[in-house]
């Protein structure tokens, strides 16, 4: 589905990603874990085109996308849930969701997807006419994910969906991520600091350190890997 080949990115004089290679197959949940400042979010933003890629290739279904603008990449079926949620605070929940379907024109499909996200997150249906800024952190995260789902992406990029949320809500969110993956066969690329939860739902995982991928393996193997346990799982 998605392949990153020797990708290098940076901000100004600072190079953040060095020679990153990643592969994501269709239908998988792949997670990228790492410490603060390792380059997790930058990897995502490079894929979605918000941060320009300096060297290397990003292939989506074999097509090069590293030179495309962010909106073209969304049109190709890659949708990102940005870190820190970034919902439209003054627009209502419903309008936020409508904006998720900005590039779509099939009214019937949009309506179906609206029903689908309302069934995933009933609280959003209840609050559909409330402005996004008045939601709680967990609800905002749900809204941000639903908004991305409204674009009916083939590949969903999630940037730290657990950030700043209560443990109970984190568990709920991760369950729903898994459900989205199963029910709609949406490929999911999950960037997380919460390595434990992420590896539990993921098929495969990558570990990034200082902008370099240092480990790549199946999720359960990473969970039992002593180095990973020591560095990220706190065992």
């Amino acid at each position: 589905m998605l392949e990153l080949k020797n990708v290098e990115t940076g901000y100004g004089h600072i190079q953040v990603l060095h020679d990153v290679n990643l592969t994501i197959h269709a239908g998988e949940i792949v997670t990228l874990i790492g410490a603060n400042g390792a380059g997790k979010s930058t990897t995502l933003m490079t894929i979605s085109g918000i941060v320009p890629c300096r060297r290397g290739q990003i292939l989506l279904r074999g097509q090069e996308i590293q030179a495309l603008s962010p909106d073209k990449i969304v049109a190709l079926g890659v949708c990102q849930v940005p870190e820190g949620r970034h919902i439209f605070a003054d627009l209502t929940v419903r309008e936020n969701l409508d904006l998720g379907a900005f590039l779509r024109t099939d009214k019937v499909g949009i309506k179906q997807d609206l029903e689908y996200v309302y069934s995933l997150f009933p609280i959003l249906a209840e609050r559909r006419h409330q402005s996004g800024g008045t939601l709680s952190g967990g609800q905002q995260q749900m809204l941000a994910m639903s908004r991305a789902l409204m674009a009916r992406p083939q590949l969903l990029l999630l940037d730290e969906p657990s950030m700043g949320l209560a443990p109970l809500i984190i568990t709920q969110i991760f369950e729903i991520i898994k459900a989205i993956n199963k029910e709609h066969n949406t490929t999911i690329f999950l960037v997380e600091q919460n390595a434990h939860q992420a590896l539990h739902i993921a098929d495969r995982g990558y570990v990034i350190e200082n902008g370099r991928i240092i480990l790549a393996d199946n999720a359960d193997k990473l969970l039992s890997n002593p180095d990973v346990q020591k560095a990220y799982l706190g065992i």
Binding site: F88, L99, G100, F102
Partner: protein
């Protein structure tokens, strides 16, 4: 109620004001007779005046807070009364019809002079609505809006002077040229937001004015271009009075078109994209909204209306010079939008009428015009920061589950 503490605070405020205004209000120096007169009575007026005003302001705030507390559970009553009337079709259409009738009858009932002033007010309404697209809806603070107005005015003046082109031919050309300049300004400022954007647009406005002022060969410099022909009506000869009234009806027509277009735009996909852009650029990109295109369209559409009005301005006054396009004009148009209420069409109309008509009818107080202007804006920021008639986004209340299912059906 007002407590002793608040009275004390008001006393302090009035003392501070007495101190601040002391050199201005109390001391009067006569340099010819070399005398200094002390007007102590003024000091008393300032003290009493500020004391009363500050007490009134306090009382107003207390009332507002209480009202807000009461309305916490019923969000419906938060909408101002005018918007409530406007949202009801039963009131909305008769009211609109009445206003339209009054506007159409206006030149028949009053003198040409009055109609002339009204035409100016109508022009500012359209300018305000144009700027409202850029500032109110898309959230791009543009302080150089007058530049596009100038582009429109000068394109008519120059095309008329050199090629003898008529008003109706140039009207779309002027608008399109202004829109082109909007795109030209838009490109370099795409990455800027907020204060930085304001500064660059301010600079752009000044650049256009300075070019017009100094490039004599092109624009005839500060002396301007005169004898621009008035708009024609199927080749009819018109007296000055008739031309003025014709101009008035022309503006009414253009205003109706503008209101229609702006209204439709706000509810469109593009309008949504602008609102989203105002809120959060990163999320916008993640949703697949083309940031560049959306911003440029906002700039060019806003500029388009300014260009149209520029052409009409040149035709109305039959004379243009750079002095008409100073920063002051931009500031007035921006004040119209802010005073009226960002993003609200009714608000902009009201704001324009107040800011254009009041100075006309209060000519006796013209010396204090800028003072009053500043005072009004400061007071607005304190008492009604959202503008006279805020742009209300439709609000629905969650009233339990039963109601909710009912709502679901009509979606």
């Amino acid at each position: 109620m007002i407590t002793v503490k608040e009275v004390k605070k008001s006393l302090l405020v009035s003392l501070w004001f007495v101190f601040l205004t002391f050199p201005l209000m109390v001391i009067k120096v006569n340099p010819y007779e070399r005398t200094v007169s002390w007007r102590w009575s003024n000091m008393l007026y300032v003290a009493i005046g500020t004391f009363v005003i500050s007490l009134l302001a306090k009382a107003w705030f207390v009332r507002k807070e209480r009202r807000m507390a009461r309305q916490q559970d019923s969000c419906r009553s938060r909408t101002p009364i005018i918007q409530k009337i406007l949202q009801r079709p039963g009131y909305r259409y008769p009211l609109a019809a009445f206003l339209l009738g009054a506007a159409l009858a206006f030149p028949q009932l009053f003198s040409t002079y009055q109609a002339n002033i009204m035409t100016t007010a109508l022009m500012y309404i359209v300018l305000g609505l144009g700027l409202n697209i850029v500032v109110g809806v898309a959230g791009l603070l543009d302080l150089g809006y007058v530049a596009f107005y100038a582009v429109g005015a000068y394109s008519y003046a120059l095309l008329n002077l050199h090629f003898g082109m008529g008003f109706w031919t140039v009207l779309p050309i002027g608008g399109l040229l202004a829109a082109l300049f909007g795109v030209l300004l838009g490109f370099p400022v795409l990455r800027l937001r907020g204060d930085y954007l304001a500064i660059v647009t301010l600079g752009f406005g000044e650049i256009i004015r300075l070019i017009l002022e100094n490039w004599n060969a092109f624009s005839k410099g500060p002396s301007g271009i005169s004898n621009i022909s008035r708009p024609g009506f199927f080749g009819m000869e018109m007296s000055l009075d008739q031309a003025m009234i014709y101009m008035y009806y022309l503006m009414i027509g253009l205003l109706l078109v503008t209101i229609f277009v702006v209204n439709r735009l706000q509810d469109s996909r593009l309008g949504r994209a602008w609102l989203a852009l105002r809120e959060d650029e990163i999320a916008c990109q993640a949703m697949g909204i083309d940031k560049t295109r959306t911003k440029l369209i906002a700039f060019s559409l806003g500029a388009f209306w300014a260009g149209l009005i520029g052409v009409i301005f040149a035709a109305k006054t039959t004379f243009v010079n750079p002095a008409s396009f100073t920063f002051m004009e931009s500031a007035i148009i921006l004040s119209i939008v802010v005073l009226g209420g960002m993003g609200s069409i009714v608000g902009v109309i009201l704001g324009a009428l107040i800011l254009v008509l009041l100075p006309e009818y209060l000519r006796a107080l013209s010396e204090y015009r800028m003072l009053a202007f500043g005072a009004i804006l400061v007071a607005m920021m304190i008492f009604k920061p959202e503008g006279l008639i805020a742009g209300v986004r439709r609000v629905y209340c969650y009233q339990g589950r039963k109601r909710n299912t009912a709502l679901k059906n009509d979606e």
